[in-house]
């Protein structure tokens, strides 16, 4: 029966459907990562700003995303906002909104951590060479921050990709949802579930693994540059 199970994948346009679902997954993840990267830098700067109010807002924001399950946030935005404010957000928009809310705070915290981990004497040695503040940022602080930040930001990106699986709960037809639909249609093949889920797993793996490898490579490449 196992032969029949695996054949489900290649029946009709099933495999294309899975790939199309994967594209939805990636689209949500990529937009989220893009927004988080840009807003995250601003968030990080706000965390370090002199304004106590800005720092307090960031703190609260960060605590919310740390303690609130993403799924609850998704429901809150998708179902809650629709009722409360009459916003009729589609699932994908809600997902991008929630994940960016999360990604921005996490990225900001990583950015702040990377920047503040640069020893004070790096800035002072650069200042002692008569460089201006802008030159110190450009030649000394920014390159070292990027080297610390990028591997961690890549890891965050893989977490975002994985977390998009939740959006099937708000009726977005991404790769996991497509998989379930296929399994539903072929309920006569008991082993179809295994093969479909295994394929979904493989697809996630094929996306996240190279990204993770890249992060590892970069870490090794830049290793020791922190000391």
């Amino acid at each position: 029966m196992q032969d029949l199970g695996i054949s489900v994948l290649f029946r009709g346009i099933n495999f294309q459907r899975l790939l199309l679902g994967l594209w939805v997954t990636l689209r949500i993840a990529l937009i989220t990562i893009g927004i988080s990267a840009v807003l995250g830098l601003l968030f990080g700067l706000a965390m370090m700003s002199r304004s106590r109010a800005a720092r307090a807002v960031c703190r609260i924001w960060l605590e919310i995303i740390r303690f609130m399950p993403q799924l609850v946030l998704l429901y809150l935005v998708y179902f809650g906002f629709a009722r409360l404010f009459g916003w009729n957000l589609d699932g994908e928009t809600s997902a991008v909104l929630v994940f960016s809310f999360w990604g921005t705070a996490e990225m900001g915290d990583l950015f702040r951590g990377a920047l503040t981990s640069i020893p004070r004497h790096q800035r002072e040695s650069a200042a002692a060479l008569g460089l201006t503040r802008a030159q110190i940022n450009r030649y000394i602080l920014l390159p070292q921050t990027v080297r610390r930040l990028v591997p961690q930001a890549i890891n965050l990106s893989t977490r975002i990709i994985k977390t998009t699986a939740l959006v099937k709960m708000i009726n977005v037809t991404e790769v996991l949802k497509v998989g379930q639909q296929i399994i539903g249609q072929f309920y006569r093949e008991p082993s179809a579930a295994f093969w479909v889920y295994a394929t979904v797993f493989l697809l996630y793996f094929l996306i996240c693994w190279p990204i993770s490898l890249l992060a590892g490579r970069l870490e090794i490449l830049w290793e020791g540059n922190h000391h």
Partner: protein, 264 residues
């Protein structure tokens, strides 16, 4: 002769604790002033104030008769004339040795890259590191890093060089390779203010010694007199803390000397 640097009665406190309590000094062209004293006496803070890394609360600092304390915007122009090397290995870890050396001259002073590179190579070979030009700092030993840091400061052609305990973080066997470079610079007439705990080096390199204690200059003098016969009791005690077993022999040998008679 007009002094290069004039420090007039500067005060500095951190969180209400006075660290500098009225320090005045002058440094003349070609002079090497060594500042010694116990930890926390304010000697490092003095250097940091001269270079504007700390803001002074009171007093005034003049570089060639131009006031440099309290500058907001143009401090980087002053720092182009005052070099400084720190205790921590402060090379930029993401840049090769040569790029570390070229950054200040090409970006701050806008000098031509080729010209500076030639000069940098020449200075690197003088400190025995010509083969390290393309190396990353992490592959260098502590002593090598500090020699590169000295070259980096010197490539700015500073009028005054501040050295803040540059061998304090080094393994003992690497101290002399760094200090020999400093002694060479002194012989070439470089004007320097040096904070150090290496007393024999201080004695060898100094034109003048300042002994600081508790935020003020407690004693000042030529190296000969200061190290042989310090005038203040506190300086005597401080110097004695650097002599161990040899103090005994010295006591016998110098027994006729009234200055050392009080050391026990």
């Amino acid at each position: 002769m007009e002094p290069i640097l004039r420090v007039k009665d500067i005060h500095k406190s951190f969180d209400g604790t006075g660290v500098l309590k009225g320090v005045s000094l002058e440094i003349h062209e070609g002079e090497v002033v060594v500042i010694i004293g116990p930890s926390g006496c304010g000697k490092s803070t003095l250097l940091r104030c001269i270079n504007g890394l700390e803001r002074i609360d009171r007093g005034e600092i003049l570089l060639r008769d131009r006031r440099i304390s309290g500058l907001e915007k143009d401090m980087h122009l002053v720092r182009q004339k005052i070099g400084m090397v720190f205790q921590s290995y402060d090379l930029f870890p993401h840049m090769k040795v040569m790029d570390n050396l070229l950054l200040g001259p090409t970006k701050a002073l806008k000098r031509s890259r080729e010209e500076t590179e030639a000069e940098a190579m020449q200075m690197l070979s003088r400190v025995g590191l010509a083969d390290k030009a393309q190396a990353l700092p992490r592959t260098l030993s502590g002593g090598q890093k500090q020699r590169v840091a000295l070259v980096r400061a010197m490539l700015m052609h500073p009028e005054l060089l501040l050295l803040d305990e540059i061998t304090a973080a080094l393994d003992p066997e690497m101290v002399s390779e760094v200090l020999n470079v400093v002694i060479d610079l002194a012989e070439e007439g470089m004007t320097m203010a040096i904070v150090t705990h290496e007393m024999r080096f201080a004695e060898a390199v100094a034109d003048r010694v300042l002994f600081m204690e508790d935020g003020v200059i407690a004693e000042e003098g030529g190296p000969e007199e200061f190290f042989r016969e310090p005038r203040t009791e506190r300086a005597r005690q401080f110097l004695q803390s650097f002599t161990y077993a040899s103090a005994r022999k010295k006591e016998k040998a110098d027994s006729g000397n009234p200055g050392s008679g009080k050391i026990r």
